[in-house]
Structure formats: structure tokens, C-alpha cells
Symmetry: C2
Subunit: 456 residues, 2 copies
């Protein structure tokens, strides 16, 4: 094991980076639980045929093979028989959640609200913000048969609250961009464009290739007239954080005589979302009519989220409403959900120095050891501190006290305890040293655990 | 996705089972942090050649292949070039930790104490207590160049404390069985048996095939005389929770004239461990001279842990001391560590009903909705409760109140809140309903979060 090099696309953090990631995960979990989401965890593998149902990502799947079945490409499954299903690593948490819902439908209460924080894998070419292994934190609400619209309003607000709770430790503000598939589809159909997905696919290229190229493609590939293409681009240009957006779309539809019932339904939904968001999280949610997001399976609201000042990182939290999360032939399960790209977020936060940990160890106190024969006395002090919830370590060796202080200093441990007839504690940052009682002393609350603080 | 069947060997829990598992993980994490272990997480994959260094488990490895590289058995790696390394899923957390230490040696402070709670994968045939995907919770201390013996005493005690902290929620007591490789090796060499690993391999079969068959094998396979075989079996029969064990071994060695310096070193270490454990965790640690545990790479203390009353489940927490966790040619990193088989533990605890969750949702309060037009008023009550840390949900629909109470009842949510001129809260277990102030009311502390309690 002489040469060790990192694997591109498989991020790992040093202990102080992990403190930051763990804090992010703890804040997300706490917020999700405050909103009544139950935590679940699913296995990392799914049958390959289930993973390939979403055509788009099929090429990214990691397929598993048991080593003893070397050379046998078919038999990767339960027991190794050739008839067994091939397994792959999940590439998101939606496919496994849908399977979990079907598998346990009779034992779940609907609407079922769950959060899920796990790693996912995609065999993509690694690049900044794109990993082969990364952590996602998902919330979804799924109904049996139907799911009220109000969840489409609530879920992005839960995410805005969760990400907003990280602002005090240095996360930049987020902006949640919302759209509604019914608006786009209703408008395109009103215009006379039937290939809604085709049009959306072109609109999705706006950020990459610009307005003129998209206009050309709409004409060349979707058979739009120049006027229809212009209308689509006018719609995509509409954005704003209040309900004037709805009026703007209505005016545009009137100008092109493109009004439809579906458009009106979509506008009512989008308007309700913007209005509620404006009241509950002012300035966070913005309607952006060019957001497209895999609209082939989303059927209502769609969401993307950018870090203000880091927009080029792409969306850090995306999702939407789907009428058919899962179906078992008898029942259909509609849902709405969003997924935070935790690794993408944490990677940026660490590389840009936006958040730092006050230390990389949980330890608040290092108990010095006078000599190895009295190690038991130091252990006893440590046990007393731990019994009061103080993370405590004991010096590795009975070296000179100066060396033991260095052990604490290298790790960022703020206090060193010297046992003896009279116990003393030294704050190694200030140098202050005072006599203390092992039965009662605790460090100040702000030093008890490593904290995550905003970078410079 | 019409037919959904569970995959054997890939355990998943319903939400109330996950509450139990999460509690176990939270208690482990808290205990590890109290003892100064830093949390890290490593990627799920390692280069295949690294995974295969431990010969014994090589057949269990899951190898990864990117789907678009179908038919190309070699190229599973970074970018797909044929020269890239094949990757496999890690089968434990020790191999990845060793690699992490080498990769980051210059940026870690030694002795480095870390905990790591992650899934691992083994392509074994599934059976009770053996999974293909399972969660492990590991602690290790690793030194650069050397590592003091006292860590071999401390680490099993940390695990005993962590598992002991779960007794109040229904975990049976644990018994940590300890041995020391130097004792066995010193004794066998003193007897004149040179193939220490061979002897240990036979001794390891005691529980499966019994004393007589092992005696036969020691003679037939290891070339022992009947007297040497009897001596080995006498050693393996020694066990006890105080230092008389050390005396027993010394007497045995004198009887066979099998004393060696290595044996004395091992006995001193084992005695120190038993003594310290007797003082710090009375009755938990038992010396058991037949514990062998992959002694091909352990070099000092070895540990196994059984749940009292569930011994046939096998060890739920194992580990030991290894002089060479990792080596980069220049430096050697000795370590000592233990690993809790969390999935094995949780699976048993759930199937035997030893622990149950008071509810499967985090939600303490369900706010009823009088009619959809006043949903915002219910949302406001929920926001006020959440701001005080009360997990709160709002009813999915403005159904009749009786139906909304059923929504809470099905989920085990203890309180339903009725907003209005006068706000009221009903404890649906007792039926008691009282007028409350949304600005101040909180549920009793014991109802705030789901709790894990001992089963019947």
C-alpha cells in the first residue's frame, strides 16, 4: 500500500471538514423532523431493470458483480443463479423510495412524509460540482391516489428554512427558482405546439447556447414558426418574486391567443406558491419561467435552488411534483419532493472557506498524565467530565507537560487539565490557569463541542 | 414496477424500526465523541487490489462496472481507460481507514482516534445475522510508529460503555470476551509448536466441532503430539473475569514447561486489561483464552462481544490490536480498534421485540385544519410550535375533525391542536382537551420526540 492517490470524483474530508458536513446534515435532519418528516434509509442497490427505467441516466449506473462470479455477467444477485436479477447502485433516492413505498404500502400511513440522507453513485466523468459518489438529503411527501396541492407550496419552504438555518454558520443566502409544468405545457399547446417535451428540451438549453440559437432550434427541430418561437422565448424570459409574474404570463398568452384551461390551472398554482412563499419566506422564492428540469416526469411545480453569489455551481436543491412516483397497477402514488446535493454544497463551502470548524476533534478537555503509574487518576477525571457530557481525552503518554499541551494544541482542544492534590485547568488559548473541582467544573458552553463558524 | 419483493440480505426498516436504529447510532456517536473520537467518512469504493490483500474475504467483494463499459471487465475506474484500476465496494471500514491514514498522514495528529459509521457490503450467502449490506460502527486509535498499550485497555471499555448506554432502552447486557495473541503464540512456541496460525485455525473450530475433533485435527494437521494437543485445549478452556486467569495460564505453562518471554508479555497485558476492566466496568469483560479471531493480522489483544441471552447470534462487536494497520514503506502505523455490527444488533433487537419506538414519526403535534381557507392559520400555529423546537405537522386535508384525529392516531402523534378564537389541544391518548396559548404551550418533554423503550 505504498502509493495512495485520491480517486477523482469520490470526495472525502479531513476531520475538520467532516465536522462541517456533519453540522450541515444535523441541521437538515433537525429541520426535516421539525416538519414531521420520518427518516428512512434504503439499501444502496436496486435491480438493474428498475434503475434503467429513467432512460436518461442509464449510462451512469454502476453495476455490481460478486467477485467469485468473475466472467459471469448475468448472475449478480441473490445466490448467484443465472436467473437472479442484476443489481446496480442507486443513482438517486427517488427510485429506491418509490420501490420502498410499493413494498411497504400496506404498512405506511399516507400521505407519507419521509426524509432520507444517503450516498448515491453515478459513473459520470467527474468535474467541479459533479461527483461519482455523493450525499443527497431528500424530502418527499407521497399520497395514495391523490396528494393535495398545498404540499407543493410547503416543501420548497421546508428546504428554504433548512438551508436558511445554515446562514448563521456562513452559508450564503439561497434563491429557490420555481416554475410549473402546467404553465409551460398549457401555453405551448395554446400556441399550437404539440411536442411539449421537445420544446422544453430546447428551452432548457437557454443558459448554455443563448436566445438566438434556441429560437433557431425551435424552428428547425420543433417545427415552430418564428412567431411561436418568439412566444416561447418571451415566456421563458418572465421571472419575478411576486404575483405580477402571473399577470405577465396572462398578458403574453392573450397577445398570442394562447390561453388554455391548463395554463390557467398552472398559473393559479404558481400564483399560490409565490404568494405563500412571499408571506412565509420573503425574498427567497422567485418564479422563473425558463426552469425546465427533466419535465418529462414532473407534472406540476418544479424547483431549483442556487447559492447567491455561486450561481455557476448549479442547483444545490432541486425537485418537483410528479403525479406517478410509483404505481402497482391498482394504486398510483403521486408525490412532491426536493433533494439537496449535500456533497456539492459542502465541497463548495469548504473549498471557498465559507464555513470552518473551530476544531477537528470533539474533545473539549485533554487530561494530562503526570506519570504512567497515575494514569488511572487521569482516567477518573476524564470519566467524571464525560459523565457531565464533556468530550474528554486523556494524554497519550506521560510526556513533559509542555509536550502534552502541544498534543492539545495540534488538535485544537481548548483546555488541558492537570490532576493532582489541587486540580488545575489551563485554557491554552489565553494561557489562563485556575484551580478547579473535578466534580463540578465544565467548560463554557461555546467550547463544549466543535462549532461551525462563518469563514472570513 | 408491479412486483416488488425484498432482496434477501439487504435489510431495510419501517419508519418505527429506523427510529430504533437511529437511536442506537446516536448513542454510539455520542459515546465515541465523549471519548474524543473524531468522526470521519470514507468513500464506499476502494481499488480492487487493495480489497484483495486480506485473502480470506476476497471472494465476498462486490466489483463495480460502469454500465456503458458493458463487456469491458478491466476498465472500471476513473474515466474508463483500460489502465484504470478496478473498483470494489469496501467489505469493512478497516481497509478504507488504513488507506485514509496513509493518504492524509501529513495532515492528521497521531495518535489519531476516529469513529466511522457506514455501510459495508459482502457478497456472502445471506443467513440470520449475516447480511450482504450492513452498517458498521468502528472506533480505532492509530499511532505513527508506536502506540501505547493502554489503548488496548480503553477501547473495549468505550464499546462496553456505548453498548451499556443502550441497556436503559432494552438492550440486554453485553459480555466482552478478550484474549491476547501473545499468550497463545508464546504458549504454543513454548510447547514447541511452530505453526501458530495453524494451531489457532484449529482452536477457532472449537465451538463448531468440539474438543475431540479439534484434538484429532491438531495431531493430524499440525503434527502435535497428543500431549501438545491436550495442552492447547487446556489453554483454550481457561476463562474468567479476574486475574486468577493469569495464574491459571502460568500454572498450565509450568506444568508443560511452556513458559516464554512472549507468554509473560501477553499475560502482563491480559492481566492489566482484566484488572482495569474489573475496576471500570465490573462484570463486563471476561478473559476467554479460546478467542482466536483472524489472528493472522492481530498481534495483541483481541475482542469479541456477545449479547447475554443471545450468544448464538455471534459477536456483535469485535476487533483487536494490529501492529501494522498501514505502512507506507517509511512509517508503520499500529492500531487497535473494534467494530459494532449495527445491522446485526438492530435486526435482532427488532425481531425479538427488545426495543420499540413510541412512534414512527418525529411529529409531536398535528395541527388540525378547520377549512382549506384557514390553512394559513394552522400553518402559523405549526410555525410557532416549531420555533420552540416542537416537531409539528399540519393535517393533510380539512376533513371532519374525527378524521383528522385518526390521521394523528394512525401515526402515533400524541397531540392534536384545534386552532380558533380559543386554541385547544387534545391528548388523544387520554382524550383530555384543554385551552392553550400558541405562543407558549409545549408538550411534556417525554412526548417531544419519539422515544425508544424496552419491549415487553
Amino acid at each position: 500500500m505504498a502509493r495512495v492517490t485520491p480517486l477523482s470524483g469520490f470526495p472525502e474530508w479531513l476531520p475538520d471538514g467532516r465536522v462541517v458536513e456533519q453540522h450541515v446534515l444535523d441541521v437538515l435532519r433537525r429541520t426535516f423532523e421539525l416538519h414531521g418528516f420520518a427518516g428512512i434509509e434504503t439499501r444502496a442497490v436496486e435491480p438493474l431493470d428498475q434503475l434503467l427505467r429513467k432512460g436518461e441516466t442509464s449510462k451512469e449506473v454502476y453495476v455490481l458483480r460478486r467477485l467469485q462470479e468473475e466472467g459471469d455477467d448475468v448472475a449478480v444477485g441473490d445466490g448467484g443463479a443465472r436467473s437472479e436479477k442484476q443489481l446496480g447502485l442507486h443513482f438517486d433516492l427517488t427510485v429506491p423510495f418509490a420501490r420502498y413505498v410499493l413494498e411497504n404500502a400496506g404498512r405506511l400511513a399516507f400521505p407519507f412524509k419521509r426524509y432520507q440522507i444517503q450516498k448515491v453513485w453515478r459513473g459520470e466523468r467527474p468535474q467541479e460540482g459533479r461527483f461519482r459518489e455523493f450525499v443527497q438529503a431528500d424530502i418527499d411527501v407521497v399520497g395514495a391516489g391523490d396528494l393535495p396541492y398545498h404540499y407543493e407550496v410547503e416543501l420548497p419552504l421546508v428546504m428554504a428554512e433548512a438551508l436558511g438555518a445554515l446562514r448563521e454558520v456562513g452559508l450564503p443566502p439561497v434563491r429557490v427558482l420555481v416554475n410549473n409544468r402546467k404553465v409551460a405545457e398549457g401555453f405551448y399547446r395554446g400556441l399550437g405546439l404539440g411536442d411539449v417535451e421537445g420544446v422544453l428540451r430546447q428551452i432548457d438549453k437557454l443558459d448554455k447556447i443563448g436566445v438566438e440559437k434556441v429560437a433557431e432550434l425551435l424552428v428547425a427541430e420543433q417545427g415552430a414558426t418564428p412567431e411561436q418561437a418568439a412566444a416561447c422565448l418571451d415566456l421563458a424570459a418572465i421571472h419575478g418574486s411576486d404575483t405580477t409574474v402571473v399577470d405577465d404570463v396572462r398578458k403574453l398568452a392573450a397577445r398570442y391567443d394562447a390561453g388554455t384551461d391548463l395554463l390557467e390551472t398552472g398559473l393559479a398554482e404558481l400564483g399560490a406558491l409565490i404568494e405563500a412563499a412571499g408571506a412565509r419566506a420573503p425574498g427567497v422564492v422567485v418564479a422563473d419561467l425558463k426552469i425546465a428540469r427533466g419535465l418529462d416526469y414532473y407534472t406540476g411545480s418544479v424547483y431549483e435552488t442556487v447559492l447567491v453569489g455561486h450561481e455557476q455551481l448549479g442547483s444545490i436543491c432541486s425537485g418537483g411534483r410528479y403525479d406517478t412516483l410509483a404505481s402497482d397497477g391498482k394504486n398510483t402514488y403521486p408525490g412532491v419532493g426536493l433533494s439537496v446535493g449535500v456533497s456539492r454544497l459542502v465541497s463548495r463551502v469548504l473549498s471557498a472557506g465559507l464555513m470552518t470548524a473551530t476544531r477537528g476533534v470533539p474533545t473539549a478537555v485533554l487530561v494530562a498524565v503526570t506519570d504512567e503509574d497515575s494514569r488511572a487518576a487521569s482516567d477518573a477525571v476524564a470519566a467524571a467530565l464525560r459523565s457531565r457530557g464533556v468530550p474528554t481525552d486523556v494524554a497519550p503518554t506521560a510526556a513533559k507537560f509542555g509536550k502534552q499541551i502541544k498534543v492539545a494544541d495540534r488538535r485544537g482542544i481548548p483546555f488541558v487539565w492537570f490532576p493532582g492534590e489541587e486540580h488545575q485547568v489551563k485554557d491554552i488559548r489565553s494561557g489562563e490557569q485556575v484551580a478547579v473541582d473535578p466534580a463540578t467544573w465544565t467548560p463554557p458552553a461555546e467550547d463544549l463541542h466543535p462549532r461551525v463558524v462563518a469563514g472570513e
